[in-house]
Amino acid sequence: MATPITLDELLRVLATCGAELQEAGDDAGDAPFEELGLDSLALLEVEAVLRNGHGTELPDGFLGRVHTPNEFVRELDALSQEVS
């Protein structure tokens, strides 16, 4: 199920998966995942942590469509509205 998530929650998850948030500072929300040090493997880890820790199941192809944390949050929010 596509449960929405706040930017702060997402950033916390990204940090546990090795994201480098300090350098980006307040702009982390709009930084591309690669700039945060997250490669494709790291994003798979993010997907697993969200599923196991937050009960948030990302739909197929979701990670290919979003490129920054803010896009991630907006897209997930839109999907959850569609479902409900």
Binding site: A15, T16, C17, G18, A19, E20, G37, L38, L41, A42, L44, E45, A48, R51, N52
Partner: protein
């Protein structure tokens, strides 16, 4: 006898950087100071409930924290063994002033040794698989546990895009990695980040070692690992290792590399089936000397494999007596202060041998009080000043691996 070094090895690679993470010292000079002072890093096996494990003494690297040295992403992806390798690699590169070398990334290689991979990370994730199901297993299991992880992470971290590989030959791998590095330099590469580390002190890793019957059951760290001693009863494992920058001598000269610790003058490797250990070791030692273009009389010291299993010790001492004459060359085993670090062990011996060449001093074989007379060795029991031009490093890996290398000033 000529006193000059026979030099048929103009293209012998030169060691220009060293980084050490060892049970008795983290950082090259800290390790070396402890080693010359005879300070041991052996202590009780800790870190988990050790009830039921017939191993009580180990060489832990205490106080090693990779956090200030490595980015969070790399920490999330790596086992302790890789973290030690990356930190040591960083120190070796800094020592070599590699940042100012102006290397073409495609001319720099990474070749490390590992004999058991990411034990702790692998165990943790397999436990998750078993108890919580496949969905809970970290994706980093896919890249963190396997032998090539340290080489791969170092290549990515430093942008070295030349030939990359990992050597898996237990203790001998630390020397074989250097031989592989030499091959790459002969093929035209400029520099190689090489060496080896190991972190074999987690429960799964210890469990894998127990059935070999080679580990010392002793409980007293001062008596647990006594090679060539009357009381020799097996070895204790330790963690850590050493990394090096090895360069083509011309390339090192052109860029004015600040340190030249020594040259890799010779190497040989063999494989010994059961019962052939002594014959193969004898041949490997002679081949390594031939490769270096040196007669036995020009070898000034031997860093022994020093298994501390009575039969394997007898094989080694007999070979040394046959090649160099009884009591014919100083023999030492500073690994008595760290335990055997497997892939990291021979690499650490190479670091000690290079520092011995630099400082013209031999580190001691710590703890040995009663060398068995039948070994006929000039065993270095106390730190000893020595005139050192060429030293021989020996390594035998469980299963039959046998390697030797000659390091020269």
């Amino acid at each position: 006898m000529s006193t000059s070094t026979v030099d048929t090895t103009d293209d012998a690679p030169v060691f220009t950087g060293i980084g050490v993470v060892a049970p008795n010292g983290t950082g090259t000079e800290e390790y070396w100071r402890a080693t010359l002072e005879g300070r041991s890093g052996l202590g009780p096996l800790t870190g988990f409930d050790t009830d039921g494990y017939d191993l009580h003494v180990a060489g832990h690297v205490t106080g090693f924290d990779a956090t200030p040295h490595l980015p969070a992403r790399v920490l999330a992806e790596t086992d302790r063994w890789t973290r030690m390798g990356l930190v040591a690699a960083g120190w070796a590169l800094a020592d070599a002033h590699a940042g100012a070398a102006g290397w073409d990334p495609y001319e720099v290689c990474v070749m490390t040794a590992s004999s058991s991979g990411g034990n702790e990370l692998g165990q943790r994730e397999i436990q998750k698989l078993w108890h919580q199901g496949p969905g809970q297993v970290s994706v980093y299991q896919s890249i963190g546990w396997f032998y090539a992880a340290t080489t791969g992470q170092a290549s990515i971290r430093h942008g070295f895009k030349g030939s990359c590989s990992v050597l898996v030959a237990e203790q001998a791998g630390g020397l074989d990695a250097l031989a592989q590095a030499r091959r790459a330099l002969r093929e035209g590469h400029r520099a190689v980040l090489t060496g080896g580390t190991e972190a074999p002190l987690s429960p799964y890793a210890v469990t894998c070692q127990l059935p070999t019957g080679t580990l010392s059951p002793a409980r007293d760290p001062a008596r647990a690992y006594l090679p060539f001693d009357e009381r020799a009863a097996g070895w204790v494992p330790g963690e850590g290792g050493a990394m090096f920058v090895l360069e083509h001598p011309r390339a090192a000269g052109e860029r004015g590399a600040p340190h030249r610790y020594g040259r890799l003058a010779g190497h040989a490797a063999g494989f010994a089936p059961d019962g052939a250990g002594r014959r193969v070791l004898d041949r490997v030692v002679r081949l390594a000397l031939d490769d270096a273009g040196l007669p036995p009389a020009h070898v000034d010291a031997v860093f022994a494999d020093a298994s501390a299993r009575p039969g394997a010790d007898a094989d080694e001492s007999r070979v040394l007596a046959d090649v160099f004459g009884p009591h014919g060359v100083p023999v030492t085993a500073p690994k008595t202060m760290t335990g055997r670090l497997y892939a990291g062990g021979a690499a650490l011996d190479v670091a000690a041998a290079l520092l011995a060449l630099r400082d013209q001093v031999l580190p001691p074989t710590a703890g040995v009080r009663r060398p068995a007379a039948h070994h006929r060795l000039d065993l270095v029991l106390r730190t000893r000043p020595a005139r050192l031009r060429n030293v021989l490093v020996l390594a035998r890996g469980e299963g039959g691996f046998v390697s030797a290398c000659v390091l020269s000033r």
